[in-house]
């Protein structure tokens, strides 16, 4: 297991570890569309995880709304490629609810094709591993800060 891969919900850990190893991505987040992080790999600072999760959730929300206005089902995946890095953002539905995966990869060591290929496996593995019949826990505003701190502590092994 990569020391940099950590999960708040333990069932996500094995699929995520396999995905990171096979696709050679640099950073990954598994999160809900609300921005709650279930697992991360490659991040070294909590602030980066929070920023990436918030931005990814915002992209999921805005593209979802764009698709709704176009009377389309939500977009399955979004990819953006720069000169050195690419990012890939996709959503799928598991027993746990809709989940999003954000992956950032270096073009020198991976490619969109590889990330797409192993993302399909990741989504299938997460669907299989997702706890059956689990109802996502509601996070009350009063508990939000403590929940967030607990999640970040778990994600960074503190």
């Amino acid at each position: 297991m990569s020391p940099q891969t950590r999960a708040v919900e333990s069932w996500t850990l094995k699929p995520l570890t396999d995905f990171v190893r096979e696709s050679s991505v640099r950073l990954v987040l598994v999160l809900t569309p609300a921005g709650q992080v279930l697992a991360q790999s490659g991040f070294s600072r909590a602030v980066d995880v929070m920023s990436a999760a918030a931005l990814a959730a915002a992209i999921v929300a805005s593209t979802g709304e764009l698709a709704r206005q176009l009377r389309q089902p939500p977009f399955a995946a979004l990819s953006h490629q720069g000169p050195k890095n690419g990012f890939f953002l996709a959503t799928f539905t598991a027993e746990r609810g809709t989940l999003a995966v954000l992956a950032v990869y270096d073009l020198d060591v991976s490619s969109l094709g590889l990330v797409q290929l192993f993302y399909e496996q990741l989504a299938a593995d997460l669907k299989t591993a997702s706890p059956k019949g689990a109802v996502p826990k509601q996070v009350l505003a009063a508990d939000f800060e403590r929940e967030l701190t607990d999640s970040l502590n778990t994600l960074f092994g503190r």
């Binding site: 490619s111 969109l112 094709g113 590889l114 797409q116 290929l117």
Partner: protein, 115 residues
């Protein structure tokens, strides 16, 4: 593009041919027999092509013009078209006993026509 792939797949023993984006590992065009996972072959071929290109540059041999991977149950043959980085790979998936010379010739012709 389909004409270029036609000429490759007409060779006896060829099970499929593809044009693949070398940067992305995404299929640009394909003619494959059932059962071949085009997306997976494209992604892995492009990944291998990128690593080979860097290895050959490091070895001072220049860029590759053709490579052939022989496996127990088949072969993968690739010609990087034009500028291998950011160009197109012409890929053939073949039976293990295919006429390699003939497939190579058709791959090189296809690479010339698509670049």
């Amino acid at each position: 593009m389909s004409t270029a792939l036609d000429l490759i797949t007409r060779v006896r023993g060829v099970r499929g041919a593809m044009l693949v984006s070398a940067d992305d590992g995404i299929v640009v065009a394909e003619q494959l027999m059932e059962g071949i996972k085009g997306g997976a072959v494209a992604a892995l071929a492009a990944s291998l092509a990128g690593r080979l290109r860097r290895a050959m540059e490091a070895a001072g041999t220049g860029t590759s013009v053709f490579w052939h991977l022989q496996a127990e149950q088949g072969a993968l043959l690739v010609v990087p078209g034009g500028n291998a980085a950011g160009g197109i790979l012409v890929v053939a998936v073949a039976e293990p006993d295919v006429n390699i010379g003939l497939v190579r010739l058709e791959l090189l012709r296809a690479a010339e026509s698509v670049v």
